[in-house]
Amino acid sequence: MSDAILEIENFSGGFMSPAGEYNQVLHDVGYCLPRGAMTAVVGETGSGKSITALAVLGLQAPTFRHRTGSIRFDGTEMLNLDARGLRDIRGSRISMVFQDARAALNPVFSIGRQLADTWMLHNGGSRAAAMDKAVDALRQVHIPEPERRARQYPHEFSGGMAQRAMIAMAALICTPELLILDEPTTGLDVTTQADIMELIVDLAQSRGLTVCLITHDLGVVAETCDHVVVMNKGCVVETGTTEQIFTAPQDAYTRKLLAASLLTEYSA
């Protein structure tokens, strides 16, 4: 077995327009996620970061067409799995926090119930025990008064709280081997964000969890990730260790991105 838990190779695909034309958006995308490490995927908005991640879980839009390539998780070709095979992996071995956390929560059930249901699905046990687990997970993502919050519905949560509830779901209620986080901290103040990232780094270290962090926040990347994948216009333009990417970027787009991240220097 290789030391990468996920290997994406030459993955190409695109969307069918209503008129029946095929528009390619991913061009030979390839990257690996080393086991037990934190890898960041950064890059242009619209460059294909989210759809690549969704393809890993078999959650592409119905109009998506895959043309070439492979996605291997722990040696298994994900693109060949049937619905049943994908279901067995989703949530139990790979879980994901979606870019739009609130939309991923069900508006008609309380947050606690949703976490508890998912816990029972994977672990069985009594409802009361699952509820305790749910409250505990909310506490770990720094949601104050978790007992009360567990009884609330998604619309009663602030943007950042909904994000933390989804992180609790994907990282603590599910106990995956691979955790994919798509912009998990955009709604969090920097203090809470730092606490949440510490929790994730902690999980990665204590459980040997592999983390894929899709983010625009290069500060978080510099501080927490081991490896970086840079995407632009549907292609992977550069990969390397965090140190390499930040101190000796090779690709022109990577350089441009790093320069743009230091917004204040230019204006001040």
Binding site: V42, T45, S47, M161, T191, A222
Partner: protein, 337 residues
Amino acid sequence: MKTYPANYPIVQVRGLKKLFPVGGGRKLHAIDGVDFDLQPGRTLALVGESGSGKSTVARCIVRLLEPTDGDVVVHGNSVRPLNPVRMATMYRTLQMVFQDPNASLNPRMTVRKVLEEPLKLHLSMTQDERNARLSELVTLVGLGEEHLARYPHELSGGQRQRIGIARAISINPEVVLLDEPTASLDVSVRGQILDLLKRIQRELNLAYLFISHDLQVVRHVADEVAVMYLGQIVERGPTAEIFDNPRHPYTRALMSAAPVARYGVKRERLRLAGEISTPVDPPPACRLSGRCPIEQPVCSQQRMPLEPINETHSVACPFSDRVAEAVAPPVPAAKAG
């Protein structure tokens, strides 16, 4: 462009409160007495802890939520009570970009319809003029005409966010409330959008309320910053003052947690002790009481109002002159080299 006297307050928020019942007769004080003005050509940034009430403030201003107490005054007129005529003019004046672009874009409408609707409703234009305006709008936010035919779910997160911005500026409002407008944008598009926002602010003399967790962005765009903690503004002042001389212990903790986009930089984070306090039936005490590194006995006995420490800078902490000795200084802004 409309011109107004200097410091003309186009929106005045006074004593604004929003309480949510949480069962058992208890109330969550999402906003607990907030005051500020928005002025043409100026940007007030609202920063602070997740859940501190920032989005609730914006939603009370555009009346998506009914304030529990206090007032929002637009051009000298209270928006409470609101009749349909006032509602319509208010919509022309005030526009909002929502924190969560998915929920605010109708999934069954194409981008074209989303953008066209307000033009039809508020401006008298011919179809040709509207089409021209539509392509102008998508180009302004860095998208193309091909995106007009798409549905929101067919766009990436950052593309959706920019449609929200295009919609808000489409009918030339006077005030725009921006709730995390750049959260899903990569740093280079983020720069372009901030430049765009600044440019139309200058051209149209717009007033902005800019809610963001991105302190770099705030430093870049804001004239003034208000820091919220558990439903109250705990510090307010000119942007440079707040960043270079933060005086409230919460502001210090916040500034010290901002990550730096450079490899190998270690920061000294100021951590607040204890559990985050709750906004449910809060006691009459400083909201930071129990977590504050410079807490005094009086802090748990009374509310701490926002008091000026000079003409422009106010702090809700009577011990703010001790903060510098007691609490590590904030991380300096990124400097080249």
